[in-house]
């Protein structure tokens, strides 16, 4: 969703200025070499893929560095680097609490408390995908099919956005036809996902994760060097706080108090930061199928322990750098007079970006930093998009081929071929959706998917790992309540989605049912998750447990 509006103008901002020092031929050569490296790693994955265990779980023997970098690269998309980095440029360093949640919950908590048990239980249940894991845990073919259907229906929407955004980016930086860029981008990603399977995906993700961490760390170091050091830069930004009320009255009304301060308590921006970003994005990552499946790719908990170290550093240096640079860009644009394009000097970042936060990071790089950082950042953005896209394609294809087709037709045996066909089908659907559907519908569909995923899957997933008393009926109740309350909230309560979807206005004549502050700004996750959890607990207590023998097998 973000990429359609983000990568194209970002690339234009990076490329457009002839004084930026960026040479299209050099960048083209770098991208070509990079693609060759990706092709080689994809081919290596293909050569090492023998059966469905290799294709779906990389043989359950992945190196911890590869696993951690793949997890991080799939986790962190371009929207985190450019989109949220731009939000930090507009609203400040309060967004660093999201970084804390990403590391504490998304890496440390996930790997230690979810990863170990997922790996062990997945092995005991012979599960190769997230739907199969849940279906086998609760002895429910229907649950397996239902979860696979949710993935199949909603993930292509998200994939289409990332795919189209990546193609637009290539179109802008390489000055090529959009259709050609779309074809090349789709074919490159399709090649290593279809043929390499999860081995190919994770090898490539490890390369891309390395590029991402080097690129973002370089960006942060150069930013502090440009602005005179850490304390100097922070103090300069703090001293700009009075400009918020003077130059950004709308943001001030939303709660903005300065770029080195948290927003005003109980303001619109405070609720958005805490409920949607910190809680929704920070905790919601635990239930993402494309991330959970990676826990089952390592051969022991030793690899997971090692991956905690690598993953923590990765998240801090990628998204942490993006948000700090975004906020600090205000200092550069406002104070620095040397080498700035006309009209930018003396402005705040959001003003310099013409009101579009997605342009803040690319403009800062273009204006403030040497061309080599531009090249590195272009590769970083491409890596972020491709790594997220490949993980989405793989999990969608697995859902279609391994989970849906095999269970609906009751075919057994190796599922590599059918999963490959599922991946091809998923890619084709994503491309078609991206071309046919308007961006607004894609954006809304993606928001629905993430909101539904987190509230619906998380209680059941956590209970599957820790509570023997969870029943099949309890899981169905939890998922139903999670889906139902999330959808109700998105269509009728949370202003950002309900206003755009329009159903509430069509039925009741207003954009949301409860207009009293802060309810229009409280993320659906805040109430749908507790209700989903309550349904799980109550119904599980009232219904028959799973056989003891099966539970002993799951928890051995």
């Amino acid at each position: 969703m973000e990429l359609l509006s983000m990568l194209s103008p970002a690339a234009a901002a990076v490329h457009a200025n002839p004084d930026s020092g960026m040479n299209t031929l050099v960048l083209g050569a770098l991208i070509a070499i990079y693609m060759l490296g990706i092709g080689y790693l994809g081919y290596r994955g293909f050569r090492k893929t023998r059966g469905s265990q290799d294709y779906l779980l990389a043989g359950r023997s992945v190196n911890p560095f590869v696993m951690a970098m793949s997890y991080g690269a799939a986790f962190i998309s371009t929207s985190a680097l450019v989109g949220f980095g731009g939000i930090a440029g507009q609203f400040g360093m309060g967004l660093m609490w999201l970084v804390f949640m990403n590391i504490a919950i998304g890496i440390v908590g996930a790997f230690i408390f979810f990863g170990r048990r997922t790996r062990r239980m997945g092995l005991a249940l012979d599960a190769h995908t997230f739907p199969e894991f849940m279906g086998n845990r609760f002895q429910s073919r229907g649950l397996k099919i239902f979860l696979a259907l949710i993935i199949f229906l909603f993930m292509p929407l998200y994939s289409s956005v990332v795919l189209i955004g990546g193609a637009r980016f290539l179109q802008e930086v390489m000055m090529v036809d959009y259709g050609w860029a779309l074809g090349v981008f789709a074919v490159v990603v399709a090649f290593y996902v279809v043929f390499g399977g999860l081995k190919g995906v994770m090898y490539v993700d490890a390369l891309m994760g390395t590029v991402m961490i080097v690129g973002m760390l370089s960006l942060l170091v150069m930013c502090y060097w440009k602005l005179g050091g850490i304390t100097t830069a922070h103090q300069a930004l703090t001293d700009m706080a009075p400009l918020v009320a003077e130059r950004l009255p709308q943001e001030a009304a939303l709660g903005h108090q300065g770029w080195t301060c948290m927003p005003r308590f109980n303001s619109v921006w405070w609720w958005t930061l805490v409920s949607s970003l910190m809680l929704g994005v920070g905790i919601g990552a635990l239930a993402q199928p494309q991330l959970a499946v990676r826990f089952m790719t390592v051969k022991s908990s030793r690899e997971l322990n090692r991956a905690v170290l690598i993953g923590s550093v990765f998240i801090l240096f990628t998204v942490g750098s993006a948000y700090m640079v975004g906020a600090l860009s205000n200092v550069f644009f406002y104070y620095t007079g040397h080498g700035i394009a006309d009209g930018i000097q003396g402005k705040l970042s959001i003003e310099a970006a013409g009101g579009n936060p997605d342009l803040i990071i690319p403009m800062f790089i273009r204006e403030a930093l040497p061309p080599v950082i531009l090249y590195l950042f272009s590769l970083t953005l491409l890596s972020a998009a491709m790594s997220t896209l490949s993980s989405l394609f793989h999990v969608t294809g697995s859902a279609i081929g391994h989970d849906l087709f095999r269970n609906l037709t009751k075919k057994q045996g190796d599922s590599t071929l059918i999963t490959r066909l599922g991946v091809v089908f998923g890619i084709a659907v994503s491309v078609i959706l991206g071309i046919v559907l308007p961006p607004g519908i894609i954006a809304r569909g993606t928001a629905i998917f993430f909101g539904v995923c987190a509230a619906s899957f998380l209680p059941s997933y956590a209970a599957a790992l820790y509570w023997r008393g969870t029943t099949r009926a309890g899981v169905w109740a939890s998922i139903s309540v999670g889906v139902g309350v999330s959808l109700f909230g998105l269509f009728f309560l949370h202003r950002k989605e309900s206003a755009a979807l329009g159903l509430c206005r069509a039925l009741f004549g207003k954009s949301e049912l409860i207009g009293t502050f802060p309810w229009p700004y409280v993320d659906t996750f805040v109430y749908s998750l507790p209700l989903s959890l309550a349904a799980l607990l109550v119904v599980s207590r009232l219904t028959a447990k799973l056989p003891e023998q099966h539970l002993n097998h799951c928890f051995k």
């Binding site: 360093m93 609490w97 804390f100 230690i112 080195t260 022991s300 322990n305 090692r306």
Partner: protein
């Protein structure tokens, strides 16, 4: 602190660095710990063999 505007933002930065350090220390300390499935199976077999030996001794008495 560090030129930042309020304690909450400083706390955010410190918390980010702190949790990363915790993750690094955890990973480093547990770098070689954690069982592979082969080790778990071997340990279970050793325990089962020890239990059988104890039972046999008890029976022989």
């Amino acid at each position: 602190m560090l030129g930042l505007g309020d304690g909450q933002t400083a706390a955010a930065l410190i918390a980010c660095i702190g949790i990363t350090v915790i993750g690094v220390i955890y990973g480093a300390v547990n770098w070689n710990s954690g069982d592979s499935d082969g080790e778990v199976r071997r340990r279970k077999r050793r325990r089962a063999a020890a239990r059988r030996r104890r039972k046999k001794k008890k029976h022989n008495r």
